[in-house]
Homo-oligomer: 303 residues x 2
């Protein structure tokens, strides 16, 4: 026992106190704060469920297998964090901090809500002109995306950057095929009135990778492994907080049971179905197509 820690009549609480006390000499107060809370919650968890040695070793083996599953293409611990809602909690806290920094400024519109980044972001997508089809040759039903980017006072942001990516109409991302080229990805900049538009596909639901320890956990939990259809957008402008988010396809299968808990009501978009004919941007479509509209709103950066 650590002699500097007073002894109570509860040896288990003493243990928790001793572990926290052992960090007294760290020079990193934030690390101490984070690890002290982690130790407290970890010990509470073990005590509240009265964890058995067999369950403990099952946990050790699960964590070990999860680490072994990770490589340059696969991050099983992020998948674990995503599927336990931890990633989404971090996203929500991060945005709440940005909102607190912006408190006191007049707000005419509500900032676009953030959601998880997911594993399929690929830096350096081609920068394409507004109106481009960013999913040339990609399987899926065509969809026209348009809207504008403003700040929280409703002022349009010219030259805001939209970094867009999605899977195809069957739920597969370019990155999932070894050696594949970028597809259904682009960077676009808003015009002088903050407007954007592009063509892509209407994205489909898809399952997370289920061939690892997290997949076994999901199955044992009795959960469905799918994410509802969505398109990713990372939207940024100088002097504003970048928001990483999705637009979700309303009525997509699994919209109520997203395996990574990324769905937020404000991000669910009605895709309008159109018969063949002249499109909003003056093209002529021989097949039916969809359109989706969303206005992004960015929080000004704090100092």
């Amino acid at each position: 026992m650590n002699k500097s820690t007073p002894q109570s009549n509860d040896p288990m609480s003493d243990l928790t106190a001793r572990v926290i006390e052992s960090m007294a000499d760290t020079r990193d107060p934030r690390f101490k704060e984070v690890m002290s809370c982690l130790v407290r919650k970890l010990h509470e968890f073990i005590r509240e469920v009265d964890l058995t040695p067999q369950e403990w070793i099952a946990g050790i083996e699960f964590l070990t297998a999860t680490g072994k599953m990770c490589d340059s293409k696969r991050q099983e611990f992020i998948l674990l964090s995503d599927t336990l809602g931890a990633s989404m909690m971090v996203v929500m806290l991060d945005q709440a901090r940005a909102e607190r920094r912006n408190e006191g400024s007049r707000q005419a519109t509500v900032a676009t809500e953030a959601t998880v980044q997911g594993p399929y972001y690929w830096e350096g997508a081609p920068e394409l002109p507004l109106g481009s089809n960013i999913a040339e040759g990609v399987i899926g039903e065509p969809a026209y995306y348009s809207g504008k980017v403003t700040d929280t006072q409703g002022r349009p942001l010219a030259g805001a950057l939209l970094d867009v990516w999605s899977g195809d109409g069957e739920g597969n991302y370019d990155m999932q095929v070894e050696g594949a080229e970028m597809a259904a990805r682009a960077r676009l900049r808003t015009d002088s009135e903050g407007r954007y538009s592009f063509w892509s596909i209407r994205p489909s639901f898809y399952p997370i990778p289920m061939d690892g320890p997290v997949g076994k956990m999901i199955n044992h939990m009795g959960r469905d492994p799918n994410r509802p259809g969505h398109i990713h957008m990372m939207v940024s402008a100088p002097g504003h907080e970048r928001v990483t988010t999705h637009l979700f396809v309303a009525n997509s299968p699994y919209i109520d049971t997203d395996i990574v808990f990324g769905v937020r009501d404000s991000l669910i978009i009605e895709y309008q179905r159109h018969e063949p004919g002249v499109t909003p941007d003056g093209q002529t479509m021989k097949s039916s197509y969809w359109s989706a509209s969303y206005d992004f709103c960015l929080i000004p950066s704090g100092l």
Copy 2:
């Protein structure tokens, strides 16, 4: 969002509720209980420290590196559990359950307290007669160990099995050297009066392996990586709960700061120093030696 979960005005608490709700269909109620508590504590941790995305990814990278460090000889996640006091908490809970099962029976003596097993147990140590030197040729000062094994009513347990192991007098275990043979290990059985005795060495303090992610964590916490000197004993007898424990060398360096929080007051033993001469078991020692005495007490098994 999950439509079956009522919405509150607190989206972060809603997130936690949705993650727990997602396990509604599991067929394993204990798994659901354990994982629901884990999710609740994990989310509380993230919220209470207001975890940033940078800290979150540092955590992901730490867990990944910890998994990568594990192999057939090294279990870095157990080391993590040990150094955060989680292993010791599981040990204490396990013993508390055994004590609860035994509640109501008359108890004349207090059961021997358990502590962590550690990574150096090697199954199948030689079974040696009482009085044997189990550390022939091992570096260290000789020590004579003796005592008895009883039940909690004080009745001696004949034929109880002591599985004993320790490092040498410099803190090194046989297993730490590739291809080494067993040393300072044995299994011994108590005599008809429940007594045991053997010779080994007086064990030394030693550091846990510090060349992995856990070592970096320990250094960043400002903690000393050593365990105080101790000898491991796994004591069992038919009809009784096996106890896995240590005897700690009183006044050993690091007795107050054991890196794995294994020390318990009742397990700290005074090693008596003796000048050369006739030993308690009638041998003649040409060098000085130590003696240590401890009586083990086992809890009867519940039904």
